[in-house]
Amino acid sequence: MSRSGLLVFVRAVVALGGRSIRQTFRKPQFLAPIFVFPTLVLAVNTGATSAGREIPGFPEVAGFLDFELAGGMIQATMLAGVSGGIALAADIEMGFTDRLIAAPIPRSTIVLGRLAATAVLGALVGVWFVLIGLLFGAEVQAGPLGALVVLVLVFMAAAVFGGLTAAIALKSGSPSSVQGIFPLTFVLVFLSSAFFPRALLVEPARTIADYNPMSYIVEGFREPIVADLTLGASLACLAAVALLGAIGAALSGLALRSRLRNG
């Protein structure tokens, strides 16, 4: 890509990302589920299942909330992805995407602009849960650098979840189809180590969690909060993010191509 081409690309992603962020903040239906619902689940879980910390084999943590924060984060991050997918499908349905396709910009920027906004929303989710944790007595054991690592990982994971839902949005062009995967996010989260250590899950949940990429993503979020920063958990998280990112990029690319071919 030439320098001027790169400039056009970046300007388009920034402009479309900014528009998507404004759109999210102007529509409470997009924003509320991302913050409110996972926060309530976190509150209920922390209050109702804190005795789980006493089970032999539960990791040594400063507090049960510290352990659970990552679960809230991944749930909110996945919902941010679903919200981004719904917004993209709504754009397609109302014809706004046609306006963008008719503009002299690389067509991939239409999806990347949306993903950039979802990633920013993910970072805000990270900040929200870290602040909630600090407010209610949790600590980030790895310090400010650990908190930064968490935010970066959440930022990347949000973009990846947005990529997966973007593929559904591009394929279906229907917000209700994207909304239909909402229950699936809960299944994926609860069949991972989001709210309980993998080692203490009973079969077959344990095996499913071992193969569920969400487990590695959530453990990457959790590690800097409950322990010192380790490369292993972060790298496993990045590998899971890269795997899902590659799947999302391939599916989105195919869906976009199909939409451009068939109108």
């Binding site: 102007r26 109302m94 014809g95 046609d98």
Partner: protein, 303 residues
């Protein structure tokens, strides 16, 4: 689509006319690079739609059938976004956005969310966004469908002005009157292929000459018939009207009036009836254009 072969001259308003489902929007979507043609060849402003789709997109402005506007954005935000996407600098984008908002009469509403706009305001904003990069070719896909007569006139006036400034306009419509009022040339599409093409006047001339409807108060129709027969075929119309199909076209009206006056025949009323594009459509396709029946009549705007 099959059997579409058309050429639009630079600086022309080309009216693409046809009923719902005839293929107008599909053709426009292909020409605007929104839909990939499976065969054939199309060039817009010198750029091939397949080989140089980016070149096409740089040269065109598009206002699609449904005004595709984000209801959560303000008019001003949308204009600036469109300017950025067309590669204008921030400063230039702001300047053009303000100028166009002023041109379409939306300055006062520019900071309101588009969701609060009326149908006419949305169309005007849509048109303004299509113009932000000063395109050489403007595609308007049924720009006035569903609009009230006043809003329709406003859009017509704006399209004329744009054309006067040199913009080539490709206009699809299901309103015969709209094509008649705006288009330099008209293409009639039916079931995916071209049924007729030409200037509105030429197409109308193809289906027949204009005729005069005369009301004669003293009932002296036989004497009038003798006078009128030298100008064309005389017949008896509805409600006792005498009709004469003018052999020389509309230019024959003045001699008819002079001849009747010289013969001392009083005329209560005289109407020159021109063949309409509706007649052309019926002659070419064998049926009427249903969309035009639904259209409210619109008075011709003052020049």
């Amino acid at each position: 689509m099959a059997g579409i072969d058309l050429e639009v001259a630079e600086g022309e308003i080309y009216g693409f006319l046809g009923p719902n489902g005839a293929g107008k929007t599909t053709t426009v979507r292909m020409l605007c690079t929104l839909l990939r043609p499976t065969g054939g060849q199309a060039t817009v402003a010198g750029h091939d739609v397949l080989a140089d789709s980016a070149g096409v997109r740089r040269a065109i402005g598009v206002a699609l059938q449904e005004a595709a506007l984000d209801p959560l954005m303000t008019g001003r935000e949308l204009m600036r976004l469109q300017a950025t996407l067309h590669g204008l600098s921030k400063r230039e984008g702001r300047t053009r956005a303000e100028r166009l908002l002023d041109r379409v009469g939306l300055v006062d509403a520019a900071d309101r969310r588009v969701g609060t706009y009326s149908g006419g305001m949305k169309r005007r904003l849509d048109l303004a966004t299509a113009l932000v990069h000063e395109p050489r070719v403007l595609f308007l896909d049924e720009p006035t469908t569903g609009l009230d007569p006043v809003s329709r006139l406003t859009i017509w006036e704006e399209v004329r002005k744009l054309n006067d400034e040199g913009t080539t306009v490709f206009l699809t419509t299901q309103y015969l009157e709209e094509a008649d009022q705006l288009a330099d040339r008209v293409g009639i599409i039916d079931e995916g292929s071209m049924a007729a093409e030409g200037t509105p006047a030429a197409l109308k001339a193809e289906v027949g000459s204009p005729h005069l409807d005369l009301a004669l108060p003293d009932g002296d129709s036989s004497r009038a018939g003798e006078v009128l027969s030298q100008f064309g075929t005389v017949g008896e119309g509805e409600n006792g009207f005498v009709t004469v199909t003018l052999r020389d076209g509309a230019i024959g009206v003045a001699p008819v009036v002079r001849a009747l006056d010289e013969a001392g025949i009083a005329v209560a009323s005289l109407d020159l009836v021109q063949p309409s594009l509706d007649d052309v459509f019926v002659a070419k396709t064998g049926r009427r254009l249903e969309g035009d029946d639904a259209a409210e009549p619109v008075l011709a705007p003052a020049a």
